[in-house]
Symmetry: C2
Subunit: 357 residues, 2 copies
């Protein structure tokens, strides 16, 4: 972009958690941010420093760049309303193929789809933060028709100004990935809770912690998820069909011991190939298990020990063997594991690396 | 039992983690424990104090009580080999209908099936502990043919001597419950990992923490799970069919917003009805979420704060919004929640109860 940084204008349409965080980070990087949303939201957005001032779709059509960050179902309509425009346009929706098609149909030349892998328990501009995207993956979905200049500009914005890690992926494949990694798992949780509740009135009361881990996403926000699933219905359908076939096959092999063992061996290898918690981390992550009594202070002693030696706990969960015995499983950077095991041993908490099944 | 406690003889067949722990607890309660297993295992079991002495199936046939705790696939054969016997006989297998049938066919009059909800990361008598079952649920599966005296004796052994919480359930329903709560979830994890790996070579590297929570059980021990699934094949098949139908229905309703919202509302209600972590706990459990930076010491400060005020953390997990931001979710006894929220607020960690979606 030839104009000096101070004069670049970014339109943000939909100033919630994501749009507000984009605005904060962009303003810090020197953009003038124009917000488009309802009056009450924009009052709050200006006050929070998420946008410089209120604006309209008509005005942001002439900005250097426009990011659409409303609920995903609103994006195709906004693209039609925004056209024609020469601005670099992107969005933050969780499904991409339909959005990319809508942008092409609307004749928006400089469009590249986007999807940040960031969020929060909380929603709304009140919880927006300029560092929300720091180190987070941000999918970009260029196609064969994408103008190279537009793609390069968006990559620079995402990486340099918002602090995220841009990752290019085909729009159709993006949608299949989201279907498998997030959307189908929500359906599985919903269906599993339904079937279990159907066995007997007290069936749910017998559930243990790993059933809870598995069905947690079933308690997600119904309205939000009705929206997300509807926008990615095609990919969700394809992945669900493939899943039903895989389940039929694995279930059908029960009783054939070598086949069942092979299924679990493949699943174990796939599980161990899952993405690390910190994509920034140069090393690999390792889980260690510490048998603990399920009593006050033990957790505190272990986490204090790690913290006081600057060993960062990337993730943790408790595996309950029964009501009194549990293992605390810590995910650590591979480079810190030996030191952590030594410290724990010395403190009377012998731990071990959680190996293949 | 009319004989004085010191003289009661308990045969334990299969002296691993479960059998060894039964032996330790029973010896503490005054039983003389006779172990049946391989020579090396029995050497270790005697040394660990899990059994009083080595024995044989022929000898334990004359004991007061016999507990079969081998791999579940070995139980029907052992019942045939054990008969005829007047001993009170039970087992610890994870599937019950086939075992109950096998006991009846073998003509063992005083049989009641059992299944303790206890275990550990570790296996083998080396990890056995007399308190393994304390406060844990122990399913008992009497039928219409069960002799009341046998059932009463086994209940007393489980509750008074082993410290567990006996819960009676019909054998067929037990197997459906285990299929829904444990066996099917393992199949779901295996099938989901398979489908995701099939989308593209790098698909697994994009997985986030909730996908990891969901597929963790897919990395279970292949040989052990081939065995467990084969023994409960009938119930697993029925539950898998019901699940496939529920999944088809929920997926088919995508695009019908009210129907999808209803599915998630029902799932949310079911999730919130899941069993508490501590079945002993009189109250209910509540999850609270604490937004935290993913950095050393924060975990330690929160867990130390809870521990120093004697607030027991029943379960915890981290929900990752992105690579730097996370919420630490603590499961607490309902009665401790207000106090915990106050302490956290005061310490600069405002937390909130995780409510419906």
């Amino acid at each position: 972009m030839s104009s000096p940084p101070g004069s670049r204008a970014l339109g943000v349409v939909g100033v919630g958690l994501i749009g507000g965080s984009v605005g904060m980070a962009a303003r810090r990087a020197g953009w003038t941010v124009l917000g488009v949303d309802g009056d009450a939201v924009l009052d709050q957005a200006v006050e929070r420093g998420a946008v410089d001032r209120r604006s309209t779709l008509d005005e942001v059509r002439g900005a250097d760049c426009v990011i659409l960050a409303p609920p995903v179902s609103a994006i195709p309509g906004l693209l039609r309303d925004l056209a024609p425009t020469d601005a670099l346009v992107s969005d933050t929706g969780s499904a991409k193929a339909a959005v990319v098609r809508a942008a092409a149909e609307a004749g928006i030349r400089r469009f590249v789809g986007g999807h940040p892998m960031a969020g929060s328990h909380a929603t709304g501009v009140a919880h927006a933060a300029p560092d929300l995207f720091r180190g987070a993956r941000w999918f970009l979905t260029p196609t064969g028709d994408t103008l190279p200049g537009a793609y390069a500009q968006l990559t620079a914005l995402v990486r340099d100004d918002l602090g995220a890690v841009p990752t290019a992926v085909d729009p159709e494949r993006h949608d299949l990935l989201m279907a498998a990694l997030s959307h189908l798992p929500h359906l599985l949780a919903v269906a599993l809770l339904r079937v279990t509740a159907g066995i007997s009135p007290d069936a749910l009361s017998f559930a243990g912690p790993s059933f809870r881990d598995l069905t947690r996403v079933g308690a997600a926000n119904p309205g939000l998820w009705a929206d997300i699933l509807a926008e990615n219905a095609g990919a969700v359908h394809r992945v669900t069909e493939a899943f039903a076939e895989a389940l039929r096959r694995v279930e059908g092999d029960i009783g054939d011991r070598p086949a069942t063992e092979r299924h679990f061996e493949e699943a174990g290898a796939a599980y161990r190939a899952l993405g690390g918690i910190l994509i920034e981390s140069s090393g690999h992550n390792v889980d260690i298990a510490i048998p603990i009594e399920n009593r006050p202070r033990v957790l505190a002693r272990v986490t204090t020990l790690m913290g006081s030696h600057d060993i960062n706990i990337l993730d943790l969960y408790m595996e309950h063997a029964d009501t009194r015995h549990a293992a605390l499983v810590l995910t650590l950077d591979g480079g810190a594991v030996e030191r952590a095991l030594g410290l724990l041993e010395h403190a009377g908490f012998p731990a071990e690396v959680v190996g293949p099944g």
